[in-house]
């Protein structure tokens, strides 16, 4: 057992650090540091820079353009990315649908979809939840009826993150109700968002912004070749995808960066007052979060080390989801604590680069903290609520 990086790994770390310093666009960094929402163009520009470097598809096999990195290289990359405060790649294409396509799709589907995902030419969103199917996802109703040359799709997907920016949506649809288990009637379908009959309606979330949507499908014609794998096997494919999603969901590197920032900000004094870090309650809370985070970091590394020797990310990834999101939310709350009264001003227009600094109310990091706190209550709800994760661990790990 040892904790050290090898000489090659240290060299790789230098390379990644230098890349972020040189290539991460300053204007996008400014937005990220100020908590200003990125546009689709910002994301695409940044992701194309990563693509050019060959670093867009961290987890893909090399034959499709993936990095082929070791577990440690991925860990180093995630840390450097967080330290640069660069945004994560939008996960729906790169991390979610792509693994399903290259694992279960046809050669034609791989050729058609993977290059555009890799180069960030196509933007994807995820069509899983429905108004009546949240935690009980297998009860989903969106119907896909097979005709000679296409499926006819009708129904509603909801909580669809960034659907208003997306070109494509991957959906779990019901292709049959005449099955022993309702999971068996579910299929995995790729739908072009520009197909007639698809409409996107915004859902404004608690902090006042548009991030998620409802997507309605009315007799939408989807070519048969857009079915991934076998009809009726969509549930299995979707579960594999969710396990990938859960390992990515812990967000350890970013939480670490945020705690460092909290430590730094708490150590500075405002108007010569005692810095907050001198308050023992605050300092103890910071230490306790650092400790919990360190534990999670090593739990994740242990899981990844197991994956590296050939084990699939199994139900253990649920543990990472539960603890990872709990920690993120604890850090959200801690930032609100740090902000004090300045967590309360609600001035949406000041989150823009062109907003004059002289008119700003408080520091953006302070006034933004409550909005992040409100918004991120979602973390323990999405990706399979933490209660559902506990059901999964209970059944598949504890055997209860």
């Amino acid at each position: 057992m040892n904790v050290d990086f090898s000489a090659e790994e240290l060299q790789f770390q230098e390379q990644v650090r230098a890349f972020f310093a040189a290539k991460f666009p300053q204007d996008i960094k400014q937005k990220c540091d100020g908590g200003i929402a990125l546009t689709r163009e910002d994301y695409v520009r940044w992701q194309k820079i990563l693509f050019k470097q060959g670093w867009a598809a961290i987890n893909w096999p090399t034959e499709y353009g993936g990095t082929g990195w070791t577990v440690i290289q991925k860990y180093i990359f995630a840390n450097e990315m967080a330290q640069a405060n660069a945004p994560d790649i939008i996960p729906f294409g790169m991390k979610m649908v792509a693994p399903v396509i290259y694992t279960y799709g046809t050669a034609a589907q791989r050729d058609r979809f993977l290059p555009d995902i890799l180069a960030s030419n196509a933007w994807w969103c995820q069509g899983y939840s429905e108004p009546g199917s949240g935690s009980d996802l297998a009860s989903l109703k969106m119907k896909a009826t097979r005709t000679v040359d296409h499926y006819v799709v009708s129904g509603t997907k909801t909580w669809t993150t960034l659907a208003h920016m997306a070109d494509w949506i991957f959906c779990l649809v019901r292709t049959s109700s005449d099955v022993a288990r309702r999971q068996q009637g579910i299929s995995f379908l790729l739908v072009d968002m520009n197909t007639p009959g698809v409409t996107v309606k915004p859902i404004i979330t608690i902090e006042g912004e548009r991030e998620v949507n409802e997507v309605h499908f009315e007799d939408v014609k989807v070519p048969l070749e857009n079915l991934v794998g076998e009809e009726g096997k969509g549930w299995t494919y979707g579960k594999v995808l969710l396990q990938h999603e859960r390992t990515n969901i812990a967000g350890v590197a970013r939480s670490k960066y945020r705690l460092q920032q909290i430590g730094k900000r708490a150590a500075t004094s405002v108007n010569d007052a005692q810095p907050l870090i001198n308050d023992q309650n605050f300092a103890r809370r910071l230490s306790a979060l650092e400790i919990e985070l360190r534990a999670l970091e090593y739990t994740e590394l242990r899981t990844l080390a197991a994956v590296a020797v050939g084990k699939a990310p199994g139900p253990e990834s649920s543990i990472l989801k539960v603890r990872g999101t709990e920690l993120q939310q604890a850090i959200d709350e801690f930032e609100v604590t740090l902000a004090g009264y300045f967590a309360l001003p609600y001035v949406p227009k000041q989150y823009a680069l062109e907003f004059p600094e002289s008119e700003r109310i408080g520091h953006l990091a302070d006034t933004r903290s409550s909005l992040i706190y409100f918004n991120n209550r979602k973390a323990s709800i999405y990706g399979g609520s933490n209660e559902i994760q506990k059901n999964i661990v209970s059944k598949h790990v504890l055997g209860l």
Binding site: V3, S287, E290, R294, T299, L301, K390, L398, G399, L400
Partner: protein, 381 residues
């Protein structure tokens, strides 16, 4: 970065697991714990035969050159088996202080006997007023020619009632909490002026209150430099803290596993109680607590070789985790065992008591969270 252990390390761990399986079931443990001595002298000889008493010492002292990984693996197994033999007090604490002494004559005089199992030793690491501050020492050592005269009271001296040798920190200079002026003495327990009141503890260990009245100690028995004892004392306590945390990880993993098993078999309302979601989610929480504790233990073990402030900070992180998450697992295990969990008859109760003792030993969660804060401030400054 590598989480795998070597073949030798895995053999060491397996040898203890096998010993527990063959020779140390819970009934045997209870019998040993209830005896006058509080541990088995015969089995202690077995510990020595199997080489476990030698692992932590350097080869030049007749040891096996083991480090934190070996210590971790051993303590985890000791925790699982709930062993009562004084490995911590004798090997990690007293042996730890002795092996850190730069004086090779002193080391060879005592360590050979500790390693071969013929000598029991203790480190008197606390006093009635000190709580968890190892530098809080009022016992005095007055220089008198080529010897010292020790006066004071030592509390909760683990293994102190039966030890042949006592390692005593005392003040040769400085005020009660000063870091300088602490000197460590190796004192034969039968020295004139040493009186001991021994007792058993709630977790089936044995300890003693020791009073020292004009105990004369020859200067040859000073460990390290006069007035510089705190470094050795603190390093030893940090290692012991790490050791009991590893033991605790073995304990809570066992408690969690036994609890899951119990809820699969215990029927109420006509079904196994493990089928209730309210209990399932609690056991998922204890699983997470076990995994998180295990992770911190590995991390601390891997950076411990340095024994610098980062390593010491990691020990405080780990001890805080055990004092919070570890205690949580233990309480849940008792609760989910229902009435059986609070009977003397069931092993769960005794794991609970040992974990409780560990949560206090060398500083509770509050103490170590404060120490963690302190280290953070130092690294910023």
């Amino acid at each position: 970065m590598d989480f795998s252990i070597s073949e030798e390390q895995s053999m060491l761990s397996d040898s203890i697991a096998k010993f527990i399986e063959n020779d140390y079931d819970f009934e045997t443990r209870q019998k040993i714990a209830a005896g006058d001595l509080g541990y088995s002298a015969d089995l202690w000889a077995t510990y020595a035969e199997l080489g476990w008493t030698a692992v932590l010492f350097e080869e030049k002292d007749g040891g096996l050159d083991g480090g934190p990984i070996e210590l971790m693996l051993m303590m985890q197994q000791f925790g699982k088996g709930l062993l009562v033999e004084p490995f911590l007090a004798n090997i990690v604490l007293a042996g730890g202080a002795l092996r850190r002494s730069p004086d090779s004559e002193l080391r060879s005089k005592w360590l050979a006997k500790i390693i071969d199992g013929s000598l029991q030793a203790s480190l008197a690491f606390t006093e009635p007023q000190a709580r968890f501050a190892v530098n809080d020492i009022t016992t005095t050592a007055e220089s008198a020619g080529d010897s010292y005269k020790l006066d004071g009271v030592k509390s909760f001296v683990l293994n102190g009632g039966i030890a042949d040798l006592l390692v005593i920190p005392a003040r040769t200079a400085g005020g009660q909490s000063d870091e300088d002026g602490i000197t460590l003495f190796a004192v034969p327990a039968d020295s004139v002026g040493v009186s001991r009141r021994s007792y058993k503890t709630v977790d089936a260990q044995q300890a003693a209150e020791i009073s020292l009245k004009g105990v004369v100690v020859n200067q040859e028995n000073v460990l390290g430099k006069v007035g510089d004892g705190l470094a050795i004392l603190q390093a030893t306590i940090d290692e012991a803290t790490f050791a009991v945390c590893a033991e605790a990880v073995g304990i809570i993993r066992t408690m969690h596993d036994k609890t899951v098993e119990y809820t699969k078999n215990r029927l109420q309302f006509g079904v196994p109680i493990g089928s209730f979601q309210a209990l399932q989610h609690r056991m998922v929480e204890t699983l997470i607590a076990c995994e998180q504790s295990q992770s911190l233990l590995y991390w601390s073990a891997m950076i411990n070789a340095g024994n610098d402030s980062a390593a010491r900070k990691s020990v405080s992180a780990l001890k805080y985790q055990i004092g919070t998450a570890g205690v949580h697992v233990a309480k849940e295990a008792v609760q989910l065992h229902g009435g059986m969990g609070v009977t003397w008859e069931l092993d769960i109760a005794h794991y609970f008591k040992r974990l409780t003792a560990i949560s206090i030993l060398f500083g509770d969660a509050d103490f170590h969270l404060d120490r963690h804060v302190q280290f953070s401030k130092q690294s910023v400054a």
